[in-house]
Every structure is written in structure tokens, then in C-alpha cells.
Symmetry: C2
Subunit: 205 residues, 2 copies
């Protein structure tokens, strides 16, 4: 359609390439932005460039950061003897939101996936191994999937060489607020297996 | 949360202000963009600035455009005697997509809404009146709502002073592919009222 200005056609196309944004939403966003003050648009543009130029990965844990090492690695109040191993930085953010975890992290930067040509050497596993000296517990917080299980298995093999390190995984069970009636069999099975005494907690932390 | 880099927190906040984007999607977009090549990010940033700096409204029809007058107003093949009056530029784009309309447009830039303090003087109605000299038909393509009906009523009053101008509105009826059984009463009533002879068309164009 030649009647739509090129600038809008191009931006619509760019925006609709973003995850979760279709052609219609992209167009709606274009028209929304057109009516915003120029300084606000400049903030968007600057924010995007900053994202690319200022954000890097922490050399220790590989979490995204503006300063190296990252705020979590620098924090002396966080327990260095517990490492939570996750697939990517978004997982760190999710766990941080709970405010229930006070150890440190290690971001793998992906999962082992032979089909996609991703091997252990493509992830930050070497760096993880180098961090194990003072570690007492490794929490594997990896999503269950073929790739997740492969990665967990691989890590287990490597880390179990360090006999003094306890390896744990996140509890599986019925989500808080979830209904037993609508819980799938696999989850219900895990919930049964992981049942806890009502006068104590299953996992002692 | 201090553990998320400021750059990301700020961009996430900006993005979640966009229509149809929540906090979660905004975060997902941030992480998606972080992994894209720098030149692509620059294209996004440039596209946003261009949107603000290069797009203006056509001085004739008020449709968005890079050049003035806009491509539709400049097109000698389009019928100048028919004007389709719409609320905003997105409506023009929707109608253009049909490729079924060959007249020109007039974009009001909103609807009369006393509650929001928007009167006829805030819309491009003056400019519309100035365009009426050679016009034979005005198609009011305005969504039915309190504001839409108020605006249509107001325009009807003004335009009916020009007795030689035919005023039409878009047909209401069952959408193509729509099911009679699931059509609401108001639409069905309109569909009945606007019924057409099966060997001809109801609206001669």
C-alpha cells in the first residue's frame, strides 16, 4: 500500500518482529508514538541504544549488568556458598522477585541442545566449575524439557565429582492457589512424591 | 529490585506504557533486543525518531504523510467528488486495504466529545467545509458511539446546507462469514432494514 508513509511501514515491520507483537499491535503502537512528545520518543530511542551499549554480562555469574561484576556478585550479604544455576538472566529476575533466595547465581546462557548444535562448551559451564571451590550447595533451577534434563544430567555428572557439594532441584507440586482437580497427572505425581510432614518442612534449607 | 540493571528497568517501563504491552512482554522484548545486532537496534531507534520528525499531517485531508500533500490527495486518479470522512488515520488505512474505495478522505482527528472537552473547533471540520465545493458525496465512516453519533449529527447539520451533496453512511449488517445465529439483535435489525434485492445491489455507487 503506497498510501501509508514509508517511515510508518518500516517501523511497523520492525515492531512486529518483536516477541508477542503482531502487525495490528505494531501499527497501533506507531500511531500511539506519533502523538507523544518528541522528548519521550528520544527516551525510547536512547533506551534502546543504551540497552545495546551499556549492558554486558557479569564475568563471574553471566547475569546481565551495567557494572562488572554485577550487583549480586558484589553484594557481600549474599551467601557465596550457595549457587543457583539457571538457563538465562530472566530466570534470575524471576527468582529475585521472590526475595526468598539469598545465595548467588550462575547463568548458563542456554541449555545443551545437540539438535541446535549447542554443546556444553557453548554455555558458561567451564566458568561454573571454576567457582565450585567454596560452594556447599548447587540449586539446579532449570525448566524440565529434553534440553533442560540433558543439561541437568550433564551438570550433575560434573558437579558430583565434588563430593562435598549438595545438589538440589526446585520442588515440583501444585502451584499456590492451584486446584487439585485441575492439576495434571505429572504435577500431581510430583506433588505426592514430594509430600511433606505437616508439622515440618520437606526441604530443610 | 536493585539487581536488574537500570537501563533495563527504564526501557521495560517505557515499553510497558505502549498500548497492548504489559510488564512481562516489555521485559521479554528487552531481552530479545539485547541479543540482536547493534545495527538492528539502531534501526529501531532511528525509526522512532523519523516517525516523530518526518511524519506530518496532510494540510488538505489531515491523513499522516511524509510529503505534503499526501499521496492520496496528490493522486489524480482518485475521485475528488467523493469524500470519506473518518475519525483518524488508522481508519484510512483500513479502508485503503480493501482497495474498494477510489475517492478521497477527510480525517477529523477525533470525535466531538463534550465530556472530554473536545468540540467541533478541535477537529478539522472547518477544513472539511472548505473542501465541499466540488464534492458530490460525503461518506460518513464513523464508528457508532455516543461521540460518533454526536459528530455524525453535527456534520450532517453542516453539510446538509449544501443541498447538492449526497450523504451516506457505511452499511450495517451481518459480517461476511458471520453466522445469523450469533448475530446480535441490533446488527440483525440493521441487516433487515438494509436488505437488498437479490438481483441487484442495495447501494448504487
Amino acid at each position: 500500500m503506497t498510501s501509508i508513509p514509508n517511515v510508518i511501514q518500516e517501523l511497523t515491520e520492525l515492531l512486529s518482529a518483536l516477541p508477542g507483537i503482531g502487525k495490528k499491535s505494531a501499527q497501533r503502537i506507531c500511531f500511539y508514538l506519533m502523538d507523544r512528545p518528541r522528548e519521550e520518543i528520544v527516551r525510547y530511542a536512547k533506551g534502546l541504544i543504551d540497552l545495546k551499549d551499556k549492558i554486558t554480562h557479569c564475568p563471574i555469574c553471566h547475569f546481565i549488568t551495567e557494572e562488572t561484576p554485577c550487583a549480586i556478585c558484589r553484594d557481600p550479604k549474599r551467601d557465596e556458598t550457595v549457587l543457583c544455576v539457571v538457563e538465562d538472566s530472566l530466570d534470575v529476575i524471576s527468582i529475585e522477585k521472590t526475595a526468598a533466595y539469598h545465595g548467588k547465581y550462575h547463568v548458563l546462557g542456554g541449555l545443551i541442545s545437540p539438535l541446535d548444535g549447542i554443546g556444553p562448551e557453548d554455555l558458561s559451564i567451564d566458568q561454573l566449575v571454576k567457582r565450585l571451590d567454596n560452594v556447599k550447595e548447587i540449586i539446579l533451577a532449570i525448566n524440565p524439557s529434553v534440553e533442560g534434563d540433558t543439561t541437568a544430567h550433564y551438570l550433575h555428572k560434573i558437579i558430583s565429582r565434588h563430593q562435598d557439594i549438595r545438589m538440589t532441584s526446585l520442588a515440583r507440586g501444585i502451584p499456590v492457589g492451584g486446584d487439585l482437580e485441575f492439576t495434571d497427572e505429572a504435577t500431581l505425581t510430583k506433588a505426592l512424591e514430594g509430600r511433606s510432614d505437616m508439622n515440618g518442612r520437606h526441604h530443610d534449607q
